[in-house]
Symmetry: C2
């Protein structure tokens, strides 16, 4: 059986990272409340450092490494927010970061990682090439590999977002997070079951990358093979670890179409002046979807996961 983090791990993570992460604000919007028929509390992780919650988990791993483990630096393969998060966390600790990135990654993402002082290692745009390249970097440098979500310390770090949200708002009837690899949702589950045990736990997932909904329905892990969605942060598959946590704690997953995500993203901007990346908007889209099982008038905490997208997207 795979290990899983506890709420004590989340609290230890929070103690460890509190000095380097932002305690992001929680925002409300009367118009969106009226539209969804519920009281919505948006935890604004787009204002987190590097523009996404991923900095929480990455910092927890990097700051928790022993001097020996940290000596060779850290390494990951990613072209998304985890890459920036690990680069920034490594810079905070003063150790090198090696980010394996497909040559197809947009130049703006490469620039963001370079800005945090990380070294980018090019590879072909396949998962195999990414893993092989990372393995050879690790062999050459002694760097410590940091997975974006299949890691107890990453999950515990991501759980600090829900911890702050519950501290900031109190008395929530439900919590909702987006699901990609399941790290944020897993951390949200563990924290909520400890701090707010009666609250309903709901995931939001794009219908074009609904491996979590399919896996939970089938009772077994079904990897994502050909994701097709504008939610570029939610393309990955659950791991055995995150699947097990979601299976044990989630009440429901609401799947939403890209059109629903676009509409929700526009509403967040026009009504609440909140600029988020498409992945973040899934949680509001879920609130506006008929399939959402959260009762009317419930107090709902929603984690807006990040804001790293360009105005023309």
């Amino acid at each position: 059986m795979v290990s899983r983090p506890t709420f004590e791990d989340v609290c230890a993570a929070h103690d460890r990272i509190e000095a380097v992460v932002h305690r992001t604000p929680v925002m409300t919007c009367a118009t969106l409340d009226a539209m969804s028929g519920r009281q919505l509390f948006f935890k604004c992780e787009q204002f987190q450092r590097v523009g996404a919650f991923k900095f929480r988990g990455a910092s927890n791993v990097v700051l928790g490494l022993s001097a020996d483990e940290a000596a060779g630096g850290v390494c990951t393969h990613s072209s998304g927010n985890h890459a920036q998060a690990l680069a920034c966390a490594a810079r905070e600790r003063g150790i090198p970061a090696w980010i394996v990135m497909p040559t197809s990654a947009p130049s703006v993402k490469r620039a963001a990682v370079e800005r945090y002082g990380a070294a980018i290692i090019d590879c072909e745009p396949t998962l195999e090439a990414r893993e092989q390249t990372a393995a050879s970097v690790i062999e050459r440098t002694g760097a410590y590999f940091v997975h974006p979500y299949d890691d107890d310390r990453i999950i515990a770090g991501q759980g600090t977002a829900a911890k702050e949200l519950i501290e900031q708002v109190c008395q929530l009837d439900a919590l909702v997070s987006p699901i990609g690899g399941g790290g944020l949702m897993s951390g949200t589950c563990i924290t909520t079951r400890a701090m707010c045990p009666q609250a309903m736990l709901v995931g939001a997932e794009p219908s074009g990358a609904d491996d979590a909904a399919q896996s939970l329905a089938a009772g077994t892990l079904i990897p994502q093979t050909a994701p097709d969605t504008i939610c570029d942060g939610l393309l990955t598959s659950l791991s055995e670890r995150t699947f097990a946590i979601l299976r044990d704690h989630l009440e429901a997953i609401v799947t939403v179409s890209d059109d629903e995500v676009r509409a929700a993203r526009s509403l967040l901007l026009e009504r609440a002046k909140l600029w988020v990346e498409p992945s973040s908007a899934t949680v509001l889209a879920a609130m506006l979807n008929d399939q959402c099982p959260i009762p009317r008038d419930a107090r709902v905490g929603l984690i807006l996961s990040g804001g790293n997208t360009r105005p023309d997207v």
Copy 2:
């Protein structure tokens, strides 16, 4: 001599409106700090109700009206944020609002005002037509006229933004607000001189509508005749009232070009994930301008005035 509000008026305004306004968050961004060489604290009034600080002043007037004064409703001529603010404040008190708007106003602005339940009265797009139409509405309905800035209670209401900012951050070395008609800057001056007397007071003004800079340089009020700037919230001229307050308190006005405003707006979005209207971005543009007299490493409070603009603008 024209009257002017005191800090006691600002405090009374805050007591009056506290239950209906948002205490907006103050955000920071390490990258923008590094670029400007100062510690910047952004007071995020784009998250205020109706998306702009204008709701503070409008609420202070509307909630302060006697039952007799309020009986006929309120009226203004505006196509901007003041129109939405007055409409929303009137709805909160349950009285009618009549908004005189040029037929040339964009449909999105008309829709916003209608959403708050106000009646729109069309007029030709000239100042004369606006004033005449408003006068006839007032004669017909008995509505109370609420000027967007040339009013002590409006200025006192706008001063509550700086009051919150100073309470939230403490120990500021300088405060910066955009200057249009001067209501926000005047309220910022009065509050700052009372709460943080040693702080430097600096205005940010688009060079295409620099009547305040010209007026202060000349020592006499020079109205704006042909404003030309993307900062659509800053097209108006100072009044004798706001001119007198700015003349007595402002250390400097930094004028910024539309290109500087565009660059600052992009930086706020890309680096801090803050979506603001062009008028708001003047304050960051001023921080990045060589003419800014605020010393390096100073702790600077900047008021982001609003966020009412469309993604395609």
